[in-house]
Every structure is written in C-alpha cells, then in structure tokens.
Symmetry: D3
Subunit: 329 residues, 6 copies
C-alpha cells in the first residue's frame, strides 16, 4: 500500500484502498440522498460524502467493506474530508485484507509471544503458573491479536499483548529494586488483569463493547473466569483469591470500577505499572506528532491536558530515529 | 432468661448469663493485670472490667464463652458499665445456648421460608426459577439464619431472609402499580442480591468479615457463583447475564461498590427497593426507642441524621402495640 | 387528527395541523430572510424552515398559533426536518384546539380526581385533612391540568395529578408493609409536595419557568403557602411545621434543593416514593420505544444512562398490549 | 464582678459567681455519685466536678442557676478545671443577673439601634422601607439582644444586631465605589437576612436550636415571614419577591443551605458582605488571643485553619489599645 | 472612529476600520479557498468570510493587521456575520492605531497612576513600601496598560491597574471598619498580587498565555520575583515571606491554584476583596446590557448564572447616566 | 546501645538511654505537678510520666536532651508506657549522641552520595547538569542527612537522599524501556524535586515545619531557588523554566499542592516515580511488621487501607533475610 490517508495534505489527490468503518445515509436539503462514510487505513481515518447515493450503493458500501477510491482531500468545516471522484468495492484479485487497514503494535507478534512465554517460565509458584498457563492456552490467538481498548491507549492490533509485555518489563525492574515484591504474583496479575477485554470487546478490527462488556465489564468477567479456571484445575490455595483480588482492584478505586482498592502489595504495584504503561503509550504517541516548542492536542484520558515538547528536545536523537528493533528490548 | 442487660438502669443489681463478645487484657497504672469484657445478650451489649485477672481467667473468659455474672450497673465516663462481683463460665447444666444471646428477626424462620417458597412458586421464567431454586437449596440453612450485615440494618439472626422477604412484598406491590416490570426477574434479583454475604460474613452470632469478604466483597462473589451455577445447570440464555448484572449493580453506583450502575429496569427497581427496606428497618427500630417530641440518636448509615418523632404520634395506635403476628402479613 | 408527526418516516409526505411552539427569524448567507419553526402535536415535535419569509409571515406564525401544513419529512444534519410546501394559520372552522396538540397523562382527569378525593377521605388527622382539602379547593383546576415538570418525567398535561395519584398508590402499599408509617402525614405530604409547581411553571401547554420559579423555586413557594393556609384556617399544632418540613426536604439533600434533609420518617419515605415514581415514569416511557435486545437513548435525568431491554422480554405480554383502563387500578 | 474565669491561671484560687450552663450526674468507679458542671461568665467557661453530690445538689445546681464558688484552678487532662472548695446558689441579695454572665457585643445596644434607624432613614424605595420598618417594629427587642449564632461568629448577646450594623457599614462603602448597586435593596436584604434566627434559636443566654430551627432553618422561616408581612402591609410589587430571593440565596449555594444561588446583583453582594463580616469577626477575635509570631488555634468555621500573626505586628498600635468607642465609627 | 461594530444591527451596512484578531484559511466543498477573519474594535468582535481568497490575501490579512472594510451585517447560524464587499489594509495615512481597537478601562491611566502613588505614599512599613515601590518602578509601563485577564473580568487595556485601584479603595474602607487590619500589608498584597500576569500574558491588545504562563502561572512567577527583589534590595524581615504568602494564597484554595490557603488575616482579606471586585466588574458590565425585567446572558465565571435586573430598577437613576468622572472617587 | 525501646514487652524492665522528643508539664487532680515525656530511640518512641516533678526537673528534662532511665514497661489505657524508677541527664562521658536515637535509611550515606554523583555524571545537557551540581554543592550536608518527611514515608535520617537514589534507579530502568524519555531532564527533576524540604523542615532529629514551610511549602520555595540559582549561574535556556515546572507540578494536581499539573512528559513520569517509591517505602515497612495471613495497621497516607500479607508468602525467602548490602544495587 502507498502513503497512508493521514499523510495527505489538503489539496492532495488520493487513489488507493480504504476500509469502511462506518456508513450512514442522509438526505440533502434538496431532498437528495447521500451517504457519509468513515474510511480508514493503518494511519488513521477520514470522512467522505458519497453524493446521489443509490439504494445499491447503500447495500454495497457497508462497514468492514474495503473500497478502492479516487478523489481529493478537501477541507470541510475545519476538518479534512475526502471528496470522492470514483469508488468501487475491492475484489479478491486486489489482494487486500482487513488486517492491512488496522494500526498494529510496534513490536511483532512473535516477539510478544516469546516474551510472554519467558515471563511464565520465570515463575516458581506452581498454582500461579498453572493458572496463567491455562489462560494463555485458552485465549492463545485473541490474546496476541486484540487491542487493549477501543481508544486512548494501546488501541491497535496486538495492543493488549504489547501492554502486557511492557508491563512485565517494568515489573522485572521494580522487582530488582524492591526485592520484597512477590514476582510470581505480580507477573500473574499483569498477564491476567485485562484478559477480560477479550469478552468485553467485539473484534480486533472495529472493536465495540459487547453486551457482557456493557452490563458487567471486563473486571467481573475475569474475576469469574479465574474462579472457574481454578475449579477446573482443582487449585485451591489462597493464590486463587489473591489473583481474583488483583484483577478486581487493578483500577485502583471504586469510582474507577474497582469495588475493592488494592489491599495486597502486588495489587498496588500492578495498578501503578498499569498507569505508567498506559500513560507512556499515550504521551509518546502524542508527542511524536509535534515539533519541539509545540503543545500536543488535548489528551482526553490524561485529564484533557496538552503536553509541551521542550525546544531543547531538538538537539536530542529521538528513539524513532533509532532502529525500531531496539525498541522494547 | 430474665430482663435483658439493656433494660437495666444505673444502680440496678444484675444477675444472669451473658455472652462474651470480645475479651482483652490490660495493666493498671499500678501494674496490676485486668481484663476488659464486652458482654451481650439479645437486647444489646455492655462493657465490664475484671480486676486482678489471673492467667487462668484470661484463658477461660474468651469470645463466644457464655458466663454467669453477679454484679451492678454503674456509670463510667458517661457510659453504663457492669461492675463484676462474681463470674463463672456457664456449664452444660445451665441450659443456655449461644443463640439465646443474639437478637432475632421479628418474623419466625418458618414464616420467612414459606414466603420465600411462595415467591419462587409465582415465577414463570424457567431459567430464572431454576437458578433461584438451586441457590435456595444450596444455601438452605445459612440463608435462613444469617444476618444481612454486621451493623446498620437487619443486623440480627435471620436478618438476611427477613430483608429478602420484605423486599419481595414491596416488589409484588410495585408490580401491581407498574405492570411493565418483569416480576420474575425482579424476584430473582431480590432473592439472590445479597446471598454473597453468606461468604462475606463469618458466622451468625458474632459476624466479622472473611478474607474473601475483605478482598472481593459479596457482590463479585455472587456474580461468580451465578455464572458457576448456570454452567452446572446448563442454562445459557441472556437471563444469566442479566441476573449477574442485577447483583453487580444493586448498590447503585461505582462509589458504593457497583462497577456498573443499573442498566436494566428491574436492576434499577431492585436498587430502590433495597434502599427502602434498609432505611425503613433502621428508621423504625430507632424511632421505637424514642417518645413523641424527641429525636433519635444519630443514625450513621442515614447520613448521620437524627430523626424526629412528632408529638401528634402520641395519639396514634403504634404498630408495636398491635399484635406482633400482624406485622408482616 | 391523523397519525402524529413523530410517527412519520424520512421521505413521508405530511398534511395536517401542528402547534407552533417556538418561532424565530434568520437570514441566509445570501441575505434572504427565513423563519425557523418548532412545531408540535401530542406525539412530539419537529423543526421546519419557512424560506423567503415575509414580514407578514413573522407576525402570523408565532408561538401558540395552530397551523395547517403540507410538506415532507426530510433529513437535515442527522435529524428529521419538515419541509414546508404550504402553510396557513388554522381557523375557527378547522375545529382544532391547543389542548389537542399536547401530550396527556395515560389516566383520565376524572379518574385522577376521584382517587385524590378517596385518599383525602381516608385521612383521620383533622389538621392535616383540613389543610389538604383547602389546597385541593384552592387549586382545583390547575392541579388536575398541569404537568409535573417541563421535561424528564410526567411532563405532559395532568402530569402533576398523575404523579400524585401514583405516589399515593405506592404509599398505601408501603403502609401495609410498614404499619409504623403515619399514613395521614404521608398522604398529606404527597398531595402537597409539588403543588408549588403551579406557581413555578407558566402554563399547561408550553410551560416555562416564572420569575418566582426562577428566583425562589417551588419548594420555598409551597412552604410559605402552607404557613399562610394554616393561619387562614387557624390551625396551630405541630402538623403545620411537619408538613412544611416534608415539602422542604422532599428533594432529599441540599445539593438537590432541600435546605434540610428529611428528618421525619414520613419525609424520608416521601422522598423515596417520589424517586420511584419519577424513575418508573421515565424508564417505562423510554423502554416502550425500543425493542427487546436494544438500548434506550441516554436518559439525562437518570445520570445519562442507556437502559437495556432484555431479549427474553420478547416472550412476555407487555402491559401496553393489555387494556389501558387496567393501568392504574 | 472581678477578673473573669478565663483570666485565671493554673494554680490560682477562685472566688466569685458563675452561671451553670450545663449540669450532669455521674458515678465514680467506686460507685460514688458526682456532678459535672459547665460554668461560665462573660469571659468564657470552665468545667468543674462536684464530688459526693447529694440528691439535693442535683436539684439545686441546674442549668441557668447562678452559683457562688470558692475553689482553685487545676489542670486535668491538659485542660484547666475548677476544683470546688465550696458552692452555694446565688441569692437575690447577691445582686447578680444572668445577663452579667454572657459575652456582649463590643458596641452598645443604643448605638446599634441608632445605626439601624439611620440606615432605614436613608432608604427611598417605599415598599422596601415599609417592610423593613415593620420587621424592626415586630422584633424590636430580640433583634437587639439575640446572638447571630450559637458558635463560630457573633455568638454573643446583641451579636445579630452587631453583625447587621457592621454589614450596613460595608454596604455603604461598596455603594460609594460601585454606584450601580441598589442601596435600598441591599440595606433591606442585610437587615432582614438573618432575622429568621430569632425563631431558629431558643434564647439569648444559652441559645439552642428550636424545633422549627431544626426542621426548617432560619432561611425558609424568613422567606415565609416576608411574604406574610407583605400581605399584611398590602405591598405587591416585585420588591417582595426580590427580598425573599435575597434571604433565600444569601448562603450562596445549595450545599450551604440556599436552594437558589444569588441571581440578583444585590443578592450576590449581600452574600459576600456576610462572608466578610463573619470572617473578620472570627479572625479578629482569634488573633487577639495570640502574640506576634504565633499561630491561633484551629478555626473550625474557617476550614479548620490556624492563622499566623506576623512578628512585625509587634510594632503596630493595635486597635484594642485604642479607645473602644472609636471601634465602629 | 464611528459607531462601533457591536452597535450595528442585522441588515446594517458597515464601512470603517477593524483590527484582525485571528485569521485562518479554509476550502469550500467546491474546493475554493476562503479566509475566516475575526475582526474587532473597542466595542467587540465579529466574524467575516473572505471568499475566493488569494495567496496574497492570506499573506496580507493576518492577526494584528488593521483593515478598512465595506460590507453588511448579516445573520449566519444565529450569529451576526460581516459580509465583505471590499477590504484593504490600513495605511499610515489612515491615522489608525492598534490601541484604538481595544477596549479600555473606564478610568484614565493618569488617574490610575495617581491613585496607586497615593496608596504607596500612605504606607508606613519601610520594608513593604520599598518592595512595592521597586516593583512599580520596574513594571511602570506594562502595569498601567495590561489587562487583568484574557476574559471574564477586567479583560481590557489598563484592566490590571483598574482592578488594583478598585481593590485599594475597598481595602481603605474595610480598614476604617476593622482597624485590626494591617493596612500596609494589605495594600502591598493588593498591588503585587497579580503583577505576575505581566509575564503570564503576551501583550495588551491580543493577550494569550506565554509558555511561562502555561507551565508556571502568574502566582509562582510572582512569588519568585518578590524573593528576588527582596534580595536585590537587601530586605530580610518577615515581611518578605508574608508578602510571598499573600501572593501565593490569594486564590483562596488549592483547587483554584493556591497551594497554601490564606493563613494571615490580610491574606484572607486580600482574597475576599479580589473576589468582590472581580464579581462586581463582571456583574455591572453584564447588567448594563439588559433592561429591567430581563436576565443577563449566562456568566461563565459566575458559575454560569444568569442575573436578573428587577423591574423597579427602571425608576432609578443609573450610574452610567451620571458623569463618568464621579465613578471611582 | 542495647535492645531498642520498641523491642520491649509489657512487664519488661528497662535500663538505658533515650532522647526526649517532647516534654510538657501537668498537674494531677490532687494538685501535684508532673511531667509527660515523649522518649525515643532509633526503634520508635514511648510515653513516660515523671511524677512529683520539681522546677529543676522541668528545666533539665527538655526536648533534645538525652537521659538515662531505669524503669519498667507498663500498659496505660491500651498503650505501653514507661514507668520511671530513676532518671538522669546523659553526660559527656556516657558517649551517646543525638544521632544514635534517630532511625536511619537502610543504605549508608556514602553509598547514597556515590549514587547521586554517578547519576549527575551520566547527564549530558550542560544547563541541567550545572544547575544540579550547584544545588548538590550548596546543600551537600543536609541533603545527605535530612528525612524526606516528618511522617508517612522516608521519615528517617537520610530519608531524602534515600528517596532520591531509589527514584533515580527507577528512572534509569524506565528510560531503558521508553527511550523517548529525556533522561537528563528526568534525573534533574528527581534530584531537585524535594530539596525545598531542607527549608520546609526544621531539623534532622525532631523535624517540624518551619514558618516558610507552613506559609509557602517546599514546592514554591524550590521553584524560587531554581530561578535564583540559574541567574547566579547565568543560565538562560528553556531548561530553567522546564525544571521549575517539574518541581511545581510533581504533586500531580492542584488539590495536592501543584498549581499546574505535569505538562511535560518527564514531569508526568517524575510524579509517577515519586508515587511508586513513596508507596513502596510505606508498604514494605508496614508489611515487614506482620506475619503471613495478617493485615497491617491502617496506613493513613495510603487512603487508610490495611494491607494483607498472603499466607503463601510464608514459603518465600524474604529480602530482609538476605544480606542488606544487596538491597539497593
């Protein structure tokens, strides 16, 4: 695929494939039908209007459909819009796939899997290790593919695994500094804390909240699953209860969805590591888009703050200029 | 048993049996050992000091032990205290039982059971009915004996069942007024909403919080149990998820321990009925202790308010003057 | 009148009478004058543009005017709009009245009046009964016609009386369950609690807030009126003060407009019954508009929640399918 | 009267008259009866124990009784206590009166009355002036004698009038600076805003909250009285409603007891002037008790802050060293 | 200059000079370039569209440029818009200056300076006086020209000095009423409290926040400057610390930007006087724009309230009808 | 020194040296003078009463005095108390020093200093490095000796340096994981963030808040010092402002004392690292005192939570059992 949609300027022509994320119908003030399409590729999304839309159009151009478009980037009410000159659904022979249009984690799936495995291998407590292993096996595929959220942080393919692996790296270092930490417990909590999202979110490419996600949320879902898994594995020690508590409390307080606050050391650390990795992910991605001396756009999940990139950053070699493979060693 | 401990005035002699609720050791400023005992019967509790306590005393007089005491009610720092003249542990031949020293619901256990059964009998939705029946069977005995809490409301033997049965009565009436209500769902939610307390609290007579109660709380415990029960019964419809949601949301908001607020009509009503019955229980019991024209003591769980009993209540026949059996028809 | 305006789809033609709720003038970017009309009937409201509006038009088409319109329902910025082909003011001979265009309570006025009378007839405390009777007499007509609010709940003609009568029904049942309740006091509080709205709101058909409504609000207005009425009737017992307190405290806390929280049992219950009936009214009306398996729109006065209608509701006979006359027996 | 009770140090002998503010009975751990007396004069209050109290003692030494005491100031648990050597009730021939034992405003009643009259004389709006005059006439005596509160600020005899007169002085100056202010309205609001306290508090010497004070509070009481007074005087303009609004809103927000916030300029200023005078009263009285370089005790009604008196205050002539008659010119 | 831009009605022609406050480029849905200009004069601002804008236009018509425009006031989406017939940049010969297009304080700069000087002359404490004098000298020019804020209150040229001078007048009067106040300290606090805004805001005419303003804010900036100034002047007494505390605490609480609340009497008064003058400034300006019997628009910085101007204000001579020179005597 | 005071049980005899932390005088109910002494050594503190205290005693036994005591540990009102048999002030020949009676960081001062130096050595940005070096030089001695607080976390000698060094270790690891971090900036922020505490707290051994600490707090104190230092060093780049911002914002939000929240990436990380190290310090010290299966006492600065030590911790080698020198590698 060529240059992504977000890399185009106002006035640029566009020709290429895009994925329809949302499609809806409207009528102009003259009574003419049109369609509003939200189109995306791995770099971001743009709105487009399809004027004089036929009934056939509205059956063809639906969410999850890939389309080939020729058009031009214009500005409409302060935002870029894609003006469509021609549009057609992609065909098998085009050789394009939904996964091509989705943002991905900056670390390869294989590397994520390897690091997960390595962490489990380090664990010594048999009860904790067996439960974690069983979950990894049960959710092997989605765990490596799902995003960690629909927006805010790690909201890209493999985002959940990327988030877990980053958190494990922080945990390993904190354990060096504070050897009082029970590393096995912390690792287990990190690996399992957000797995409930696999049932809370509907899919990898266009994730929305499932009914269970809306009515229960990923935390109670996962508390239940841990209990069920332990019964299946016939594990009975206090480890099960403590693991359930870690998942239950990892949002830190009741207002944030944890009916109990962390009451075990490793639960408190899990909450803090989760905060750090989520915030660093948001901050680094937002700051990458601005130049030294500028502020980022407002970050909703960071209390709506805009962050400043100091001018003296200009003189520093930025990690994005380094080799990517060095990123998460 | 004779007149309860709370029916004595300062200066009255006391002779009778009491249950030790708490026992702790101390030393006077002269270096002499003594014990502080919290003693209770079904009417309430009182503090006592056992001076010059021997090692043997501190092994004999422990929590849950029934003792025979002769003494006198004195006042110490604005509160009544029981001055001990003589004390001995109760013996089998005394014919006293722990359950004699515990406050009980104003409705008999048999009547509570009957009403529970009648409600379940009314239910038509087979999935809901089967789950409820299975829980009633599983927890038959404790469900009829446990208090609903350690303090605040329905904090007496059979308090949980009393609370459920009162709520069912309100539900039945609201269903008459708002026939849109799904009665089966509401009944099921009422019966199950607090059953997690059987695992959250340690016992009927001197209930404290269990480790699972402290680290998870009764709400997640019960959400998990409903899922487990449904799997055992091989029930799979949306009823299971909705029931779990009702339990999860019955505290009304995140700050109060419900990670999701009520998002189903019957969940909202369940929350409101729970509020009404808890508040009426607290209010009626507090107002019974004051005369018309007076304020009650501050009620912690009612935002620390003192309630006023109007003077014109003096002219009304009070329900406590009516036959008790009429109470909860 | 034919099918209401809210029962039309995008693309449908429309011909019929509508009431102008609001009318305002504008100028297009070409400098041409137009009018924006908010039009309503008993089913809801819709916006319309009247292009090339003359001065005469802007004098004719004003709020509270009924008009006959031919046109078509189009979509404009995601919302339906009524495109006007022709418009004329209604004439006497058209036989249409403002009250035809206003939503009404689901219970007839006569029935509401009857139930109010019956409740007062049950009261035994002469002071409370005389005050209530005097208010019913003073406000006889508006009390039966006014809405209970401008939006959120019972915001239709006779909404106030409908709300009162529903609350009386709940009160009667709770009195059965908790005979400690002083029924006379609770009935009096229910009947009077919102009567201040007759001075807070400007009219039945297009209610807005009066100056007294904005600067004092219905609660202090009614506290004052009760005092005045008691002086007129030369009633002096504690009943007057307690009634004023019940009105004053019925919003439950200071943040919600009650300078004193409920401090009398019946004041607390009044607050709870008010909550239940308001919430059931909102919930039932919102859920009536969605199918099983769907969520309602967000309900602002319910903390902005969307409620879910379970799929198994599909199998239940809904009350709206039963005879309406059974509704509030 | 001699040197007040608060001017004594630990170890000083005491001989003089004191007023009993509270009296309660107790029993020592040896079972001997004693009484705890809270004794006060115009400088403050002290606790005393009357050991071996007889039944006669407990009938004689009751609240509001003046007693003659000989004793000594000792320290008990970090607080001064009056050790009683002898005690007898005051007799007519002692020539002491309850009002001698109460703290008074630093300005004479005559001067307060004069200033109130002068302010009313300045008013030009006849409706506002007539209402204010009528209230001054109705409450002439208590208005000049009552405290403004039971604690926190102006909690001394004539405190209410002192508070009003200070606020009028601020209002006069702000009117000079901001001539947009409607002086008549502001004066009327200031004079009436707290008059409801005459019904909220029980007495001048040992004020407690009345039942109406507890169930309604001074704000709704006064809103009602203004309405009643206006009807009696047959005054009907918007002035009545605005005055009621000013009283209703003078606590500034709902959480502080005003169901409506100030919505008229003079209501907003009234609230601010009330704040200033209350805070200056608290601050000046607390700072008078500390030396330069020290902090005051924590002031509960000032968000529990301790205030610092700078060392350079040592070099300033303090107003308390100036003639008192200059105080409130 | 002629009648200001805000004094025009929809439909009026306009011819005159305006200052460009903001300028941005856009593209129509037909792909044609246009510019959006925010234009202002001393009476307010209006939006305008410049259609078919050339590259030259976008280089010419930039912020801070004065332009001569012929056009007409039209209405666009409920707001007035200036339709441009012709536009050209102002030339030297036009004799217009940026300062002509900015709102100014209602008191002349000379008078403000005089009053500031008079206040400093009254001060007796040498340390306080020297520090204040040094700041006045250091910031002489901007102090007399800067606004006090970018919006809400005193947001006009010389607004900061106007705010200071009004506050000094209130302080002088409160000192008369409460002679305990240390007038020197209060004066010094008032004069310095907002001087940090000279570094927080970028300019007089189109003020925005500087980087130091965004990252530190005017309070810490000024705390630091006072310390620096004292070191330069070799002043060492407690006055320096207390002055820093007054600046630090003048927003009243942590949530409002003061890490310490006022802990010195004069700091508390400074906070209250600041509140009064800011609120009176907002209120008087908003109420000047409405007629008796109307409400103002919502005032964001007054908790979003709309204020009512009573009808009886119609009969009062308003200060704006008096001579302006009398305003701030 | 022998076994510390906190290692004694009720009933144990005590003989040894203790430091007087606080001393105050009282009078018994019999009028006899006594002294209350708070005595401490490095393990904790205990209260003692010195009966029949002479004037000489109260001049001898003052805060900061070391005393030699023989006595016995008794229990008084549920707390241990030291009953004094004999007491005398320490003499030079006793060879005891104040620093012997103070708790110390678990890492030696030399090691702390070395690690600080190493971190500064790593820095590359000259402006940041010079400022940090200058501060280290200016505060060399107190920086290595002061506690980080008077209570809650790192409240022991060298606590501040221990806190800084631990935070540097975390920073180094996070920089490995997130190379986007500007390590120099983060190091500088960590080293300087709490140095203001050297002026906020009065001493190492018995720290209390200084006047500047109470009226300004360590954050504004340090913001000012950084500005002053930069002027002295004639450093002018954006680094100064950013460093001031990092100190200003490191408490995270206004309510917690930071008038600006973190608006630079490294400021956000600094806040998070500060949280982690403070919490780990509190948690590890509290958990060290309880056995597996127990809860800690309530930790005030951790939202008053009690933390649980899981039973399976019993099987783990605890770090306190490892060599201490391994602790902070």
């Amino acid at each position: 695929m060529r240059k992504g949609i977000m890399r185009h300027q106002i006035g640029d022509p566009f020709e290429g494939f895009l994925l329809i994320k949302e499609a809806s119908k409207g009528t102009t003030s003259n009574g003419k039908p049109f369609m509003t399409l939200i189109l995306r590729d791995a770099t971001g999304q743009i709105e487009a209007k399809l004027w004089d839309a036929t009934n056939e159009d509205s059956e063809t151009f639906v969410a999850e459909q890939i389309v080939q478009i020729k058009g031009e980037i214009i500005q409409f009410r302060d935002k870029p819009q894609l003006k469509i000159f021609s549009i057609r659904p992609a065909q098998v022979t085009d050789g394009v796939h939904v996964s091509d249009f989705v943002e991905k984690a900056p670390v390869a799936v294989g590397e994520l899997q390897e690091k997960l495995t390595a962490a489990i291998f380090e664990m010594e407590n048999p009860a904790l290790q067996r439960i974690v292993r069983a979950f990894i096996k049960k959710y092997q595929e989605p765990l490596l593919l799902y995003p960690a959220a629909t927006k805010n942080h790690h909201e890209y393919a493999s985002g959940l695994a990327h988030h877990i692996v980053s958190m494990l790296a922080i945990a390993r270092e904190l354990y060096q500094l504070y050897p009082e930490i029970n590393k096995d417990l912390l690792y287990a909590g990190i690996i399992l804390h957000d797995i409930g999202k696999l049932k809370e979110l509907s899919s990898v490419a266009t994730p929305t909240y499932t009914l269970a996600g809306k009515l229960l949320g990923h935390i109670p879902i996962m508390v239940e699953e841990i209990g069920e898994m332990a019964r299946e594995l016939q594990i009975e020690g206090e480890e099960v209860l403590i693991l359930q508590h870690m998942v239950l409390s990892h949002h830190g307080k009741a207002e944030w969805g944890s009916p109990k606050p962390p009451l075990v050391r490793e639960a408190e650390i899990l909450h803090l590591i989760d905060l750090i990795d989520a915030k660093m992910n948001m901050l680094n991605r937002a700051l990458k888009n601005v130049k030294p001396g500028e502020f980022t756009e407002r970050l909703f999940a960071m209390d709506n703050r805009s962050f400043y990139k100091p001018q003296f950053e200009a003189g520093r070699v930025q990690p994005e200029q380094q080799e990517l493979s060095h990123h998460q060693k």
